[in-house]
Symmetry: C2
DNA sequence: ACCACTATTCAGTGTTACTATCTACCGGTA
DNA sequence: TACCGGTAGATAGTAACACTGAATAGTGGT
C-alpha cells in the first residue's frame, strides 16, 4: 500500500490488533486474515507475529495453546486487564491525534 | 505525552507538518510553536527540523532564506506541487486508516 | 560582559514494520 | 511412498522515523 502506510502503521498496528483481540480471542494466522479482509492487504504475516510476541512480553495478553485440526497447534491470545488498559490509552492517544488531523484536513479546503 | 504518541507520530508527523505548510509558508521554529499551541507539547524541536530536512531532500518544498529581526536568519519552507501531491496521498492513506480504526472503536462498545 | 530569546544543526539511541526465509503439521493425490 | 498446498508460527537483518541532548549562532536589553 505504499511507504506512507508502512510508517503510519507504526504505532497504530498495535492498537489495531488489540482492538481485534478486544472483540474476541484469536490466533495469529486468524488475525492476519481478518486484517486482510478489512483492506490491509499488504501487512506481512511476520509482522503480526512480532506484534503478538511484544504483547506477550509486555504482559498485555494471556496465551493458550490449542491443537488444530488442520496444521500445527494454534496460540490463542486473549486480552487481559492490562491489555484493556493499554487499549484504552491507545484510544485516547488516537482520538487526540485524529481530532487534530481532522481539523487540519477540513481547514485545508 | 507517552510512548504511544511517539510511535503514532511516525508517519503522521510528516503529514501534520505538510498540512501546516499547505495553509501557508513557515519556518522551523514557527512550525514547532504552532504544533505546541495545538497541544503537541512534547514534540522535540530537533524532530521538526529533521522532518524539514527530509522534505527538502525529497524535493517536496521550496526553501528561502529570510533575515530575521530577532536572531539568526530563518529558512522559510513552502509546499511545491510535488509536496502537494505527497500531501494528497497522505490524506488518502490517513482517511483509510482513520475509517478502519473508527469502525473498530465504535464496534468495541 | 552577560543573559534571554530566537533559530538551526547533528550524533547517537530505541522502537517499529518489512523482507525473506525457515520450521512444522496435516490431508490429499500420483 | 513421495510430494504438494494450505495452515501455523518463528527469526535474522534492514530501513525509516521520532527522541535525547547538546552544540552553534545571531539579536537586543540590562
Amino acid at each position: 500500500m505504499g511507504k506512507q502506510m508502512t510508517e503510519m502503521l507504526k504505532g497504530t498496528l498495535e492498537g489495531l490488533v488489540l482492538a481485534i483481540l478486544a472483540a474476541r480471542s484469536a490466533y495469529g494466522y486468524e488475525i492476519t486474515a481478518r486484517l486482510r479482509e478489512q483492506g490491509f492487504t499488504d501487512i506481512a504475516e511476520g509482522t503480526v507475529y512480532a506484534v503478538l510476541v511484544r504483547f506477550e512480553q509486555k504482559g498485555l495478553v494471556d496465551v493458550e495453546k490449542v491443537p488444530s485440526e488442520k496444521g500445527p497447534p494454534r496460540k490463542v491470545y486473549s486480552l487481559n486487564p492490562a491489555g484493556q488498559q493499554y487499549l484504552d490509552e491507545f484510544w485516547r492517544t488516537w482520538s487526540f491525534l485524529s481530532e487534530r488531523l481532522g481539523q487540519l484536513h477540513e481547514g485545508g479546503r
